[in-house]
Symmetry: C2
Subunit: 350 residues, 2 copies
């Protein structure tokens, strides 16, 4: 519960009019020193802070934020979640004149990123929230924002060459490292491990590469375990994994463990659906197809990061920076939550 | 960021006095219907809710809460954490006339529970927050509170025979079940598993018994794994575990895995300190001695439940029920968080 003390409460307590309290707050001298002291004491006792937001409200200026995030086709997509947080936060600040224009790009088509970025530059908003998925295109865009003096904030991943006012991300390599530790804990020595990227543009997606790096780093420190790790990139086509394994002379049931670097883990699980005893599988994110497979015991662990919170916090940081003119924390790391069939019902996603 | 719209903001927006807004809010009819409509529209647009709390403030009544929780000797004890949450919450509601009287009992001495309970009954507070550790004594106490019409709320554990207005707990048997799953995942078949209670009054401590039940339930469903599970109760004496094992003809290095049902897991780890390769160990709670051992790789997993939040939420629920006269949710489950060396730096304990 937040403190919600208003000028009227202080006035009541002091037995004076609101105007008198207001004069004390603005240090105009038409108040007797005795009354002034009484009012200042009440202000201190109540821990009252004059409301900056109400001032911005009075100015009636419209502030425009723009968001640029991956397009999603249905509510169960991962990207629906940060979106929810963004909209919830905007709903709370809209009364202070903040408006949001939403732009989207297609994850496997970086041209759509560039087109949306151009529209945002044309709009010239007061601040931008973006997921910098297409690395090259995102760098070009943030450079243009910088030149126009428009502050921006990253969610989901960050680019070390850019200068956002803040970012809200999971430490990707650490989460990959944890995934490796959890898999290694559950498999015997000399296992065959599959590392799967389900994306068509892996070289342009920094944080998936970082998850891969963390995963491989863990096994570097465990050379005694002598596992064999195979890296495979597939698109969202169900038969591709099987075909690629066959090319390498491997079958699905040779695989002991699987790490999928994003929320598409459900697709990889379905490749193994005809096996009675599938491999240990770890992937990312609580989208409903993944939750279903977790509950069926087909996925062992899901690593989560409270995506709603990412969107929610990002909008609030932009608001603090642009409207309230406050300093904001530049690095914000989301949790690396471990979700299993046994604790999912008690997990709060926000 | 919370909405913080005040009557003065509405008055400004409508171009009327505060008195006029107040008349509309209290449905007094001295306002022209045109002005009234304009004000009501602004109230709706701003999503303004009249401040119940300010009313209670105006009444100047003192509300007394009492807390009854385990005594702790230093800041690193588990019980310092709910305490922090309690004090933080009280700090926020004290401006509305709420005062807290704190009472403590010694965990292994149920007489101290009864003595504290009697003092609370004498005080006759407006509401009580308690950790019902000593089951028999706690039931007697809540019965007396019920007779006096004093509402109470449980944290940490609950008693199914009592009628609190609400409880905030972890699902203990589910957390024991998860502990079993995590251990089982990392050990080979036919392992020797130790289940350790570090407490002197196990039969009077419901939630530790529930953790044990959940743990054993998991292995009931996995009979194919053929582990041997040994249950041991020890006090906080370092040599006791070794002695008890010897009585059974077992040595420390026969043990493959250990489940400690509370935050005293650090003590059990220190029994194994002379072994090069100790057993897999899982226990509870982020106290600093446990964190240290987790980071050294001596503890594999800690199950956590955001204890600060338990205390914080409990006070706020009492406040909502007693001061704001709101209905409160009667069952509140805290998360069953899995903490490892790899994700601890990103874990938010509140």
């Amino acid at each position: 519960m937040k403190k919600n003390i208003r000028i009227i409460d202080i006035a009541k307590e002091a037995g004076v009019s609101i105007g008198t309290v207001d004069r004390v707050l603005h240090e105009r001298s038409e108040v007797s020193s005795e009354t002034k002291e009484r009012i200042l004491k009440i202000i201190k006792d109540f821990d009252y802070h004059p409301n900056i937001i109400a001032r911005s409200l009075a100015s009636k200026k419209i502030i425009t934020f723009a968001s640029l995030t991956p397009w999603f086709s249905d509510k169960d997509s991962y990207w629906a979640k940060p979106q929810e947080g963004i909209e919830k936060a905007i709903d709370q600040v809209k009364q202070f004149g903040v408006r949001l224009k939403q732009f989207y790009f297609k994850m496997d088509d970086s041209d759509t990123f560039t087109t949306a970025a151009e529209k945002i530059l044309e709009l010239s908003p007061d601040g931008v929230l973006l997921a910098p998925w297409a690395k090259r295109e995102a760098l070009k865009f943030t450079q243009a924002l910088l030149e126009k003096g428009i502050p921006f904030i990253f969610i989901d991943s960050t680019l070390k060459e850019a200068t956002p006012i803040s970012f809200i991300v999971q430490n990707s390599s650490q989460s990959g490292y944890l995934a490796a530790k959890l898999l290694d804990y559950g498999i015997k020595e000399q296992s065959l491990i599959l590392l799967v990227h389900v994306t068509r543009e892996i070289d342009n997606v920094t944080h998936l590469l970082q998850r891969e790096k963390g995963f491989l780093d863990y096994f570097e420190t465990r050379k005694g375990r002598k596992h064999r790790i195979i890296k495979i990139e597939i698109s969202e086509n169900e038969n591709e994994l099987d075909a690629k394994l066959q090319e390498m002379g491997l079958a699905l049931n040779d695989i002991d463990a699987v790490f999928v670097t994003n929320s598409k883990v459900h697709q990889v699980v379905s490749c193994f659906k005809d096996l009675i005893q599938g491999p240990k599988i770890i992937g990312y994110d609580l989208i409903s197809r993944n939750i279903e497979l977790l509950n069926l015991g087909k996925i062992d662990f899901l690593i989560c990061q409270k995506p709603e919170k990412q969107g929610f916090i990002a909008i609030n940081l932009l608001f603090d920076y642009i409207v309230k003119k406050e300093k904001v924390q530049s690095e914000n790391y989301t949790p690396i939550d471990i979700i299993t069939k046994e604790n999912i019902d008690y997990y709060s996603s926000v």
